[in-house]
């Protein structure tokens, strides 16, 4: 167990699907060689195929305490990374600009598609990053022991010097949030922006999110928003809890509006988005959370103040982030931080 655990809560009812987080992370961390196809942070429309395609269906994580590795997704599952013939088309009289290959899949291929029930569409956006799990399957799977969990903040990292590129971690992660850099022969993944966190600066995906839906702090800090949302108000849940990795990224589950003609009814009574689907993603507890949130929303809309919703408003970044300087946080045995 780490001494402290950094964590993120994402309120899915504020997510715009704008991918600013994706772009922020890409420009900061995965703009380098061999990283084109990697999106440490991605946003996918749910229900949907996800990124990489079908990641939620192929396995990974633990079953009865044992690793259940999956196949490694193919390149196309992750999405193509095409270039264009602009120079030729625009400056040399060349043919129509096109991607260099016919496009069959991208990380956001089924954006805004979702699914239908009784002729009506439902969907929501699910931003995803590494969960910096308490029981990381990737770490467990690494024969080289090159993946570790930092004692001071629980961030899970792949040692870029010691990694040998065996890819057991890719198979093991149930969220497929660890990637293989072919060019470098290394596994790479979200680093929870530790250089920023160490300087009390929120992660790029959080700090740049115009939807202002990400809360960052230490789960074991009772004054933090993440602690309150997860443990006090109990409105945030991990993704696929049954996969056994104990994720540390949590979600306030989504609502869709009522179906046609059902305005005024509870989303539990006559949901546009089937509750089964939410249970599939967030486990059985999600029903209680939705009930709680619906009650709070009604209270607010009837003119009272809801404490938890006031927190979720997140008026400024001081409300959303509580990230003490690492130096102040702890001195740990064997840690490098001096």
């Amino acid at each position: 167990m780490p001494e402290h655990q950094i964590s993120m809560v994402l309120d899915l009812n504020k997510c715009l699907g704008c991918q600013t987080c994706t772009m922020a992370c890409k420009k900061l961390w995965t703009d380098g060689d061999g990283m084109d196809y990697m999106y440490w942070n991605n946003v996918e429309t749910r229900p949907g195929q996800g990124y990489p395609r079908n990641w939620d269906k192929i396995g990974g994580g633990f079953e009865d305490g044992k690793l259940r590795p999956s196949e490694i997704p193919t390149k196309e599952d992750y999405g193509q990374t095409f270039e264009y013939n602009y120079a030729e088309r625009l400056f040399q009289g060349g043919p129509q600009a096109m991607p260099q290959e016919e496009v069959r899949n991208t990380p956001n291929w089924d954006e805004d598609v979702g699914a239908m029930t009784l002729g009506e569409n439902y969907y929501f956006y699910l931003p995803r990053l590494c969960n910096h799990c308490t029981n990381p399957a990737c770490l467990e799977a690494c024969p080289r022991k090159a993946i570790y969990k930092r004692a001071e903040d629980g961030i899970v990292l792949v040692d870029q010097e010691r990694c040998e590129g065996y890819r057991y971690c890719v198979r093991a992660c149930p969220y497929k949030k660890i990637y293989f850099n072919e060019l470098l022969g290394k596994a790479q993944k979200c680093i929870f922006c530790y250089p920023r966190i160490e300087n009390s600066e929120a992660n790029a995906c959080a700090r740049q999110c115009p939807g202002r839906l990400r809360f960052v702090g230490f789960l074991d800090d009772p004054t933090s928003a993440v602690h309150k949302l997860v443990h006090v108000y109990k409105v945030a849940l991990g993704l696929f809890p049954e996969k056994g990795t104990a994720p540390n990224v949590f979600y306030v589950p989504p609502f869709n509006p009522p179906r046609r003609g059902s305005y005024g009814k509870s989303v539990l009574e006559d949901p546009r988005m089937p509750m089964d689907y939410l249970q599939y993603l967030f486990g059985g507890e999600v029903i209680d959370v939705i009930r709680r949130l619906e009650g709070e929303l009604q209270r607010a809309q009837n003119g009272s103040k809801s404490e938890v919703l006031q927190l979720l408003i997140g008026r400024d970044d001081q409300v959303r982030y509580q990230i003490p300087k690492h130096g102040d946080l702890i001195q740990l045995p064997g840690g490098r931080k001096a």
Binding site: L90, P107, Q160, K186
Partner: protein, 917 residues
């Protein structure tokens, strides 16, 4: 094998290090030095490598700038430079907080702004002046020097002036608010050389014509922080999660603060998913829904009577026989109501002809319901007009459930404050004015306009130049009356083969255009109808790509022009189809200022680096062009040109002197400071100050705006009228719902009414819908690789699954979309949230990218609404970007078939893209 792995490992680390300038390989702890079992879940000894990523988050300098793409965002960003390269950008995130209650504006930005650096170094970037070497649009160029290019342009502009008249030179640039100094650089040249300056806000159909008609303003909306003050937010044709990315949070946060959010849209889009109530309306029936709600409000006496009596024209008397307002004999601008207190007719204070400069009723009580044999009130006429809009009939027209609209009507009337957030979804219809007026009626009846958290708030385009007075003085120094101003819709329609086959009250649109021009209601250049436009200069815009009636324009206007010049940082469709392309500095390589409707701050563009390659800021390009014109005029010994229209003897040897105000304007910052100094909003601020952080406006110019900036409060318009009782800027001095201009009477549009979308042709069953989306700001970022990789790489048209099944079309098929105006070939995506019998493609795709044929504007034709040609009626007069016909395009209908690529297509698909860009 072992060796190879060792090599790979070394290579890998070297590569990682190499990709991070300044990164030294971290010190490797000796593995051997660690003894004992390795348990990385609890402790890990080899952490020295972690500096690798720490070094990646370093930079040499940070400079603040922003983007000028007409997104309405006006977001302040920091650009990070390492080793002389702009590596990334991150929102500055330092807009000062308005109050402790309101959520702040940080971090304003979107995914496009987060990768503008891609463009700065991208393959589309223009590096040197180019002169066309092939056909227009072919993409064959000859590199030119600045001197050669400017000599060509300056010479040609002068030739045109002396041979054909100055009004054959045409200038087009959009949205001064997003970078006014760059805008003014060109407008000043047009001004001093007699060129025609074209509008954009009406042409792009972003102008809500109902606002000038009802309120006598261009567009007046609250800043977005004010959404948080609302208790009922109606997203009406506005997909804020996609098109207002920096501001959408205010709506979703307002919901947590007690607001209900209603979404009205045909499709279940990204904003609808978060709404409390989603109304999947039939396209083009928005006015019917609004009028149904209006009827509900009137029938149930839920209207705010004191507000309506004082703030609107609903109590004014109308002559039953003529349908015109009751006026004193031979007076046009004085009106009456019946005073319920005295039972006498009472002059309505505050109209254009009234001696009173207030609308305060001073004890009078206008009778909304007065009627006798001869006169009645606007309110009573409205009540009659509303009679057909029962909730049942509205449910029928709109396809909505009766239960939903009844609750909507009741909540709208009773939850306060209530606001409508209005967007292009509804504004791009032919009858946009009627839709606007119907919606504005709702917020007026319920007394919401002019109050924090309430009103009709339209956000499409960044038209609001807060420091307006200084801007006007810099843009058109001798005054707007000495500038040839042109509504672009009319100009493009007239000078291209666009032809609207509709008859309006039995007459073609040409009849109304002639009348309007003859009456002096709308200008049309060149004035001499024998002349054609000769030169077109475009900057900060992508005229050709975005123009309705694209196919017609390419075949006519584009052939007739003899000089097309484009200033740009990238080769967009207009640049590609130009004769001379001038490389402009990107948003990160120039100085300018930025403001928007969405917030109440001003902040700068800065030179993060000096302009790359041979590019120059637009400001310097126009400066050099002015110089070049003076030089050539001198060399040619040109006598001053007598410009008859203005009685202005134009001495072109002095063009540069005039342009630079005799050397007063030496650099772009001087222009910025001049604009700020000349405007009450910014007086006292300096460009240097803006570099620190965005500054909130100090006061407002009462001539330009309708509310004060108040400390601790979000800006919302019309407090001057509602609180201070200042007259509205209309003929009647009130929010004017009744327009008794003869053309409005002829078309039965004196009051808001629902009219069906124009059926373009029974042959074509699908509405053609081209809304604004998340992945581009108009055409900007349409071709950006990082954006495209998160879409499907090329243009996509969306289609409902049932429609697709009927036509045997599958996801990712090639399809052809067509009508009599034109056709395009793109890919299709099946989208369950799309409305049946409608096809959608988010707008702005460049013609040169991904289409196998045509472009998204190929199926459109310009259609002008006769009543939008009206002028000479009180507050309804032509004014650039304030009033003039809109270039609507929502009414277009198309059909779709599966398309099988030809052998030539396949060659294009496969051959293209091979090169690493």
């Amino acid at each position: 094998m072992n060796n190879r792995r060792e090599f790979l490992k070394l290579g890998a680390l070297a590569a990682l290090g190499a990709s991070i300038p300044g990164c030294r390989k971290a010190e490797t702890p000796a593995l051997e030095s660690f003894t004992g079992p390795l348990d990385p879940l609890h402790a890990y000894p080899y952490r020295g490598w972690e500096d690798l990523y720490r070094k990646q988050w370093t930079w040499d300098k940070v400079v603040r700038s922003t983007h000028s793409a007409n997104c309405t965002g006006s977001c302040s960003w920091n650009v990070y430079v390492r080793n002389g390269v702009m590596i990334r950008e991150e929102q500055a995130g330092d807009y000062p907080r308005i109050s402790a209650d309101l959520p702040d504006y940080n971090p304003r930005g979107c995914q496009k702004g987060a990768c503008f650096t891609e463009y700065v170094y991208g393959p589309q970037r223009l590096r040197s002046p180019l002169i066309r070497a092939g056909e227009r649009g072919e993409g064959k160029w000859r590199k030119a020097t600045w001197d050669e290019a400017l000599t060509l342009i300056a010479g040609k502009l002068l030739d045109n002036i002396y041979n054909y008249g100055p009004d054959t030179n045409t200038y087009f640039s959009v949205i001064p608010a997003m970078s006014p100094v760059s805008f003014c650089a060109g407008s000043r040249l047009a001004h001093y050389t007699g060129g025609v300056f074209c509008s954009f806000y009406d042409w792009y159909c972003d102008l809500p014509p109902g606002e000038p008609l009802t309120w006598g303003v261009q567009t007046e909306s609250c800043e977005c922080a004010d959404w948080f003050n609302s208790k009922y937010i109606v997203l009406w044709g506005s997909n804020i999660s996609q098109t207002r990315i920096p501001d959408a949070h205010f709506a979703w946060e307002a919901r947590y603060n007690g607001a209900k959010v209603v979404g009205i849209s045909p499709d279940f889009n990204s904003s609808m998913i978060h709404a409390d109530l989603f109304l999947a309306i039939q396209p083009g029936t928005d006015a019917a829904l609004a009028l149904g709600v209006a009827k509900y409000i009137v029938d149930h006496n839920l209207y705010d009577a004191p507000y309506v009596k004082e703030q609107t024209d609903l109590a004014l008397l109308v002559d039953k026989r003529t349908s015109r307002f009751v006026r004193p004999p031979n007076v046009n601008d004085v009106f009456f109501f019946q005073d319920a207190k005295t039972g006498k007719r009472h002059e309505a204070p505050g109209s254009m002809g009234s001696k009173e400069k207030t609308i305060a009723l001073q004890g009078a009580d206008p009778d909304l319901h007065y009627s006798d044999g001869e006169v009645t009130t606007v309110f009573e006429l409205l009540r009659q007009k509303l009679a057909p809009y029962t909730l049942e009939s509205v449910a029928e027209t709109t396809g909505l459930a009766l239960n939903d609209i009844r609750q909507f009507a009741h909540e709208f009337a009773t939850r306060k404050p209530a606001m409508i957030i209005h967007g292009a979804g509804t504004n791009h219809w032919f009858h946009n004015d009627l839709i606007n007026r119907s919606l504005i009626l709702l917020v007026a009846l319920s007394g919401n306009t002019g109050k924090n958290g309430g009103g009709f708030n339209h956000y499409v385009g960044q038209e609001r130049v807060w420091p307006e007075r200084g801007f006007r003085a810099y843009a058109f120094p001798e005054g707007v009356k000495k500038q040839r101003m042109q509504n672009m819709t009319l100009w493009t329609y007239t000078h291209s083969s666009n032809h609207d086959p509709h008859l309006y009250n039995g007459k073609p649109i040409e009849h109304y255009i002639d009348e309007s021009v003859k009456n002096g209601w709308m200008p049309l250049y060149p004035k001499n109808r024998q002349q054609k436009p000769r030169a077109l200069i475009v900057w900060r815009a992508n005229y050709l790509n975005q123009a309705k009636g694209n196919e017609y324009i390419l075949k006519s206007l584009w052939k007739d022009l003899d000089l097309i010049v484009d200033l740009n940082y990238r080769m967009d469709t207009t640049a590609l189809h130009s004769d001379v392309v001038l490389p402009a500095a990107s948003y990160y390589e120039k100085s300018d200022i930025s403001s928007t409707d969405c917030h109440s701050y001003i902040h700068p563009f800065n030179k993060v680096l000096e302009p790359l390659y041979e590019s120059k800021p637009d400001w310097e390009i126009f400066r050099d062009l002015a110089r070049k014109m003076s030089q050539i005029a001198g060399e040619r010994k040109l006598a001053p040109y007598h410009d008859e229209q203005f009685g202005w003897d134009r001495d072109f040897t002095k063009t540069y002197d005039a342009w630079s105000a005799n050397g007063r304007f030496q650099q772009a910052e001087d222009g910025a400071n001049f604009i700020m100094d000349g405007s009450p909003e910014t007086k006292g601020m300096t460009f240097e100050q803006l570099k620190q952080h965005p500054q909130r406006f100090l006061k407002i110019d009462e001539e330009a705006w309708n509310s004060d900036i108040r400390e601790g409060q979000a800006y919302t318009p019309f407090q001057h009228q509602v609180e201070n009782k200042r007259p509205w800027r209309t003929l009647t001095g009130r929010q004017q719902f009744y327009l008794d201009h003869p053309w409005f009477l002829d078309f039965g549009e004196q009051l808001p009414v629902h009219k069906e979308p124009l059926g373009e042709s029974a042959k074509y069953p699908f509405f053609w819908n081209t809304p604004h989306g998340r992945w581009s700001i108009h055409s900007t970022w349409r071709d950006a690789r990082y954006q495209l990789r998160l879409q499907r790489g090329i243009p996509i048209v969306y289609m409902h699954p049932d429609d697709a099944k009927e036509r045997h079309i599958q996801d990712n098929d090639w399809v052809k979309v067509f009508n009599d105006n034109g056709a395009f070939v793109s890919k299709v995506q099946i989208l369950p949230g799309e409305k049946r019998k409608r096809l959608t493609m988010y707008h702005g795709w460049e013609r040169y990218l991904g289409f196998l044929q045509g472009g998204w504007q190929s199926p459109t034709v310009i259609k002008i609404k006769p009543t939008q040609l009206v002028g000479g009626y009180g507050h309804v007069n032509f004014r650039l970007n304030y009033w003039g016909p809109t270039g609507n395009n929502r009414d277009a209908r198309v059909d779709i078939v599966k398309y099988t690529p030809t052998a030539a297509d396949l060659r294009t698909i496969r051959r293209a893209g091979k090169e690493q860009a």
